[in-house]
């Protein structure tokens, strides 16, 4: 079985590193992107098992990325776990309603462990 591949799109380095460390230790292969544009480039070249997506980012933000992702052959079925601090962001909610392909975590309130658990659950589906 191949090592599941996870794409982390997050502009904040410390957050990205924390996620990368946690998920690497948990045995996943990690690709990091510092904004939506980089993330989209990464998606176009590989197929990922899960994408961890921040919403507020420079250049291309999470929402735009999500729109582009869903029209891509590789990207249309990838589960996306949205990590945000905007707990009232409507778009994030709407995404969370996208039938299991997309979930939502409030960064400041969730434990890293919980993010990992949620991610695993999504990949097992």
């Amino acid at each position: 079985m191949n090592t599941p591949k996870i794409l982390i799109i997050e502009d904040e380095v410390s957050i990205r590193k924390a996620l990368a460390d946690k998920f690497t230790r948990a045995g996943f292969e990690i690709v990091e992107a510092k904004d939506g544009e980089e993330g989209l480039n990464a998606v176009l070249s590989h197929k990922y098992d899960l994408i961890l997506l921040d919403l507020v980012m420079p250049h291309m933000d999470g929402s735009d990325f999500l729109k582009r992702l869903r029209v891509d052959e590789f990207g249309k079925d990838v589960p996306v776990l949205i990590l945000t601090n905007l707990n009232d962001d409507v778009k994030a909610r709407k995404c969370a309603d996208e039938g299991g392909k997309c979930e939502f975590v409030l960064k400041s309130e969730a434990k890293l462990e919980e993010v990992l658990e949620k991610a695993k659950k999504m990949m097992n589906k």
């Binding site: 410390s14 601090n85 707990n87 909610r93 400041s108 434990k111």
Partner: protein, 664 residues
Amino acid sequence: MAIPVLVLLIGLALSVWVSLASYQNQKTQSFLKFDLAVNEITAAVNEEIDQYIHALYFIKGLFVADYAVSQNEFKAFIGTIDIKKQYPGLSAISFTEKENGNHFPVKYIEPEKENEEVLGFDFYSDNVRRAAMDFARDSGDARLTSTIRLLPDNAVGVLIIMPVYRIGADISTLELKRANLIGFVNAAVRIEQFSANTLKKFINRFNELKFSAFDATAKTTGNVDLLFDWSTTIEIPAQEKNSNLNSTSEIAQAGRVWKLLFEGGSDFGLAESEVIIPLILFVGGALLAMFLSVTFYMMLNARYKAVQIAELQKFKMAVDDASDLIVITDSEGIVVYVNRAMETVTGYSPKAAIGQKAAALWKLPMPEPYYKKMWKRIKTEKKPYVGEIRNRRKGGEEYDAVLSISPVLDKNGEIIFFVGIERDITKEKNIDRVKSEFVSLASHQLRTPLSSVNWYAEMLLAGDAGKINKNQKKYLKEIYNANKRMVGLVGALLNVSRLELGTFVIEPKMVDIREFASSVIKELSHDISQKKLKIVEEYGNKIPKIYIDPKLMRIVFQNLLSNAVKYTHENGKVTLKIEQKTSYVQITVADNGCGIPESARSKIFTKLFRADNAKVVDSDGTGLGLYITKSIIEQFGGKIWFESAENKGTAFYVTIPLIGKHKK
């Protein structure tokens, strides 16, 4: 308008008083003059008769001096006294000499020429004369006759009869007097002549005086002999007699009593011009009073009107230039007045606005139920409406305003018009918005570093970076927990700013609120078991699902339950009760903890407020929980209140209507 009436009344009263006083004064004057006239005339008549008697005494002396008095002597003697000049009232003086058989024919008479016929006439042959002669003879004094017809022309008059006795004779007794009588000297008084000559002078002095004299000797009733009747004017009508002056006087002369009767008009002794003085005073005074009254009325009225106009002017200026928009409409909402602020706020000039329908001017940008509620309040309930509103300017731009509309009612409670006052608070709203947006932005920015701290501390604690010792673990826990609190605070601040901005995204769903209650209790289970608290959950069986935002409902339970857990002592009890009432669900969260001090109760829902005893129990609280809870409950259309006793416990009550409010 009391002053002009007062002036009129006082003026009239003064006029009446002055004219009455004048009238009284005239009456007194009149009376005094009348009295004077009576006295003067009485005295004059008396004195005249006196003088005649004196004259007779004088003439009597002629017979005493010389026994045989010749006619010439008599004539010469009378001539010395010049009757006509000195005694104008006397018509004749005669001497009647005693003859045998008690006859007393006239022997001499002066003036002789006019009275020639009388010579030889026996006075004693006439009853009236005889009575007086007898009386005079017996008394020795002069005696007046009663009224008789005088010779030679039968004119009315009286005689004064003076006895003449023999010279040197003793006349101390009646017999001696009779024996020694030689005759009489007599003075004839023609009333007409007497009257004309002695009383004439009064005619000019006293007008309207009526005067008559009677011989009233020894007579009290019956016919009296009229001596003379003389008046200075025509007869005064009988019906006026009451108001007239009346007086009587008496003259007692030569054995007779004359009664004098006087009558005078009520305005006796007053000149015609004087009589009307009281009337002139009254009419003049009344006219003056009326003039003053009218003048006062006009002055006051003019002043009153001026003051009223000035007052109205003042009001109008104040309203015209008020900074708040003031609108008056009729009961149908048609604008009848707007002040100048209309133009600055809406862009419509007052001229353009008047006559328009208010709804057409502001184009009603609010949802329809808002206006329905407003109209119901002001038109049906006839009560003032106060609220915030979004309105539209002439150009279409929206603005925020605080609005108050009051119906103005007439006596019967019918609406005459509405007065609306509107203040443009767009600026203030924007400032608030910017403030809240700043808080929102800052809080979002804070969350990112908080997440980092959170996750790295978590990894260290989990031993992801290698094993850590006990102290390291302890310190890391402190960092981790402090960070958690910070996250909580930032979350609460964000909630506040979103509530205030109205940017809370509300997504109602049909929810069973019992599930929230249980899950929140589960979240708190760590603290509950640590404090060994007893949790009592009483849920009604048939609690219906409510259409409500689950996220907000959760915040309510979190705040109320975590407070109850936090402020209850170890081994305490927290009760959570959910029950259905008629149209709402009631939630009760009760504890037996430290309670809310009396002084803190009124401020317990205020933003950032914390009670003193709460600060002791938990120094890290934000003072935002109950403020947020209340805001949320009110958004639901519900109510929140509490009962509390210090050191005994607190119970919070929340009601949520079954028909949840939705807001997008």
